[in-house]
């Protein structure tokens, strides 16, 4: 899921203070912590209070969308309200906000949140943790299931670096575990230090360079199709 953190109210208000009617849209998708209808309502009320403290009146409506990052779902849910509002404040992650701006290009959708990372919920440690940076070239098969991109502050393919002390990383004041010591321990446990020792050549960062697209919903056929020209 996408881990988000709400911006402070001043920053959000600053973005929308010139509008008098706003639509505040929560998202029921994977965004964590949850930012659904109740969060949308609370945010709207806070913005109303801010406006009132400046002697302005702010009209609002709070709704929620199953997933703002799905164009079909977002369009059908939000379209009925669009006409009556000057601006949208979205509580989704960046994906949803960009999508809303794409679908509804006559109205601006503003972000109420900072999107932090794709994260896992680690209840044992009370954290949302970034275990994968979606690098497009997964190394977990040679690293004992520990990600050297998300786990290592330097994204090293052939770690550890000299900054590890008793299994902890120099970044973050030696509080986080060093991914590469962890990788070593995992591979040792499974008697696979051969994988640790093997040199991993420079990565192909084209797989990890924005913008990235993957074609979906294409058709398949057993008939001969004209060959596409190589890019």
């Amino acid at each position: 899921m996408i881990i988000t953190q709400q911006k402070n109210i001043e920053e959000i208000y600053d973005m929308v203070k010139q509008y008098s009617k706003i639509l505040v849209a929560g998202c029921d998708g994977c965004c964590q912590p949850p930012r659904s209808i109740n969060e949308a309502k609370v945010l709207a009320q806070m913005l109303e209070l801010k406006a009132r403290s400046e002697g302005k009146e702010l009209k609002w409506k709070a709704i929620t969308v199953l997933r703002q990052c799905d164009d079909r779902i977002a369009a059908t849910t939000v379209r009925p309200f669009i006409e009556q509002y000057d601006a949208i404040v979205s509580l989704s992650c960046g994906l949803g906000i960009v999508m809303m701006n794409r679908i509804f290009d006559n109205i601006l959708t503003f972000p109420a949140q900072n999107s932090m990372f794709g994260g896992a919920e680690n209840n044992a440690e009370n954290t949302f943790a970034e275990y994968c940076e979606t690098c497009g070239e997964c190394l977990l098969g040679v690293t004992g299931g520990v990600c050297p991109m998300a786990g290592c502050a330097k994204n090293l393919s052939n770690g550890p670096c000299g900054g590890t002390v008793t299994g902890k990383c120099e970044v973050g004041g030696y509080t986080h575990e060093c991914a590469w010591v962890k990788i070593y321990e995992r591979l040792k446990k499974f008697n696979r230090l051969d994988l640790f020792t093997k040199y991993r050549p420079p990565r192909n960062y084209r797989n990890w360079s924005s913008p990235r697209f993957i074609e979906i919903n294409k058709s398949y056929t057993n008939e001969e199709e004209p060959k596409k020209e190589e890019k």
């Binding site: 670096c161 000299g162 008793t166 030696y174 640790f196 420079p202």
Partner: protein, 312 residues
């Protein structure tokens, strides 16, 4: 891998099995390099220092690049340099370009390092690069030297460059095994020599050197003479994994107190403390290990070289 030629005086001397010393220069945020050149001159005068490392933004700080001081030290002082290069700030294109530039300037030793993370430095919000890691940087240098190409195999006009490449190793590493395996990986990819981080523990250092023997590459053991009590204290407080021995720390503290007002006497006392600690240390390493020499990181403490090294 097969040994590549010794392009630098450093690697030549190592291969002649002469016990040698290297020093260290640290350009900071400066446009006037006279203090660096002065340190280099003092090193050169001793006649004992084969080459000097020039650091590349240590602790993640934004400092004067290392290439220019390397060049000036070689040109003006006639002391060979070991060009430290981290992968923190440059991608493979910039690294390649800089290495070509350095080779044109006659730099013949490159020490490939990961580099302290920018989050530790004085521009904490910088975007760290780490396109390559230090092993992959050794791979890049190897391709430039052995094949005359970049990482993609694109040829360098005029052919191969002449350079030797070294890697770092940490005697304070804990756990030790991944460190050793990692050094092995670097040697396999093409490291010609190893310089270690600083060690204060003779038994640890000897054991570490023993473990590195199997790679059959010259190793310089890192030592860090301490110029004043403040530095020792900083070391203990801020550099986890390394600690200045209690006796050494206490002696430095006493010297500081005893000669509070008299700088000359204080310096003499501190120099003696360092010599008493490091001279026997170095002798023991020379006598009982296969180390190629000592990397003496006495940054801004060049006055120690002469008295410390006079018996070697």
């Amino acid at each position: 891998m097969a040994k590549r030629p010794a392009y630098s005086n450093l690697v030549k001397t190592m291969r002649e099995s002469k016990f040698l010393f290297t020093g260290e220069l640290e350009p900071k945020k400066m446009v006037d390099l006279s203090s660096i050149l002065h340190s280099a001159e003092e090193m050169k005068k001793t006649g004992k220092i084969t080459a000097a490392n020039v650091t590349d933004g240590p602790q993640g700080d934004a400092y004067t690049c290392s290439m220019v001081p390397c060049h000036l030290v070689q040109e003006k002082v006639g002391l060979e340099t070991i060009w430290q290069m981290t992968v923190r700030d440059r991608n493979r294109i910039a690294l390649f370009g800089d290495i070509l530039g350095g080779s044109i300037l006659g730099l013949r030793n490159l020490l490939a390092l990961t580099g302290d993370h920018s989050a530790l430095g004085d521009n904490k919000n910088a975007r760290p690069v780490y396109d390559l890691d230090s092993t992959q940087l050794i791979d890049l240098v190897s391709k430039m030297v052995d094949d005359g190409t970049d990482l993609e195999g694109n040829e360098i006009e005029g052919g191969k460059i002449e350079m030797n490449v070294g890697c770092a190793a940490n005697p304070n590493s804990n756990p030790r095994e991944p460190e050793i395996l990692k050094v092995g990986r670097k040697v396999e990819v093409g490291a010609d020599f190893i310089q270690t981080q600083t060690s204060f523990d003779i038994d640890d250092a000897k054991e570490f050197l023993k473990e590195l023997e199997k790679f059959n590459v010259p190793v310089l053991l890192g030592l860090f003479p301490i110029k004043n009590y403040g530095i020792a204290w900083y070391f203990n407080e801020n550099i986890p994994g390394v600690s200045v021995p209690k006796d050494l720390l206490a002696a430095l503290k006493t010297a500081k107190k005893q000669y509070k007002e008299d700088k000359k006497k204080r310096n003499e006392a501190i120099d003696k403390i360092n010599i008493d600690f490091f001279e026997p240390f170095i002798k023991e390493i020379q006598k009982t290990t296969k180390a190629a020499g000592i990397h003496c990181m006495a940054v801004h403490y060049e006055r120690l070289f002469e008295p410390l090294l006079k018996n070697f």
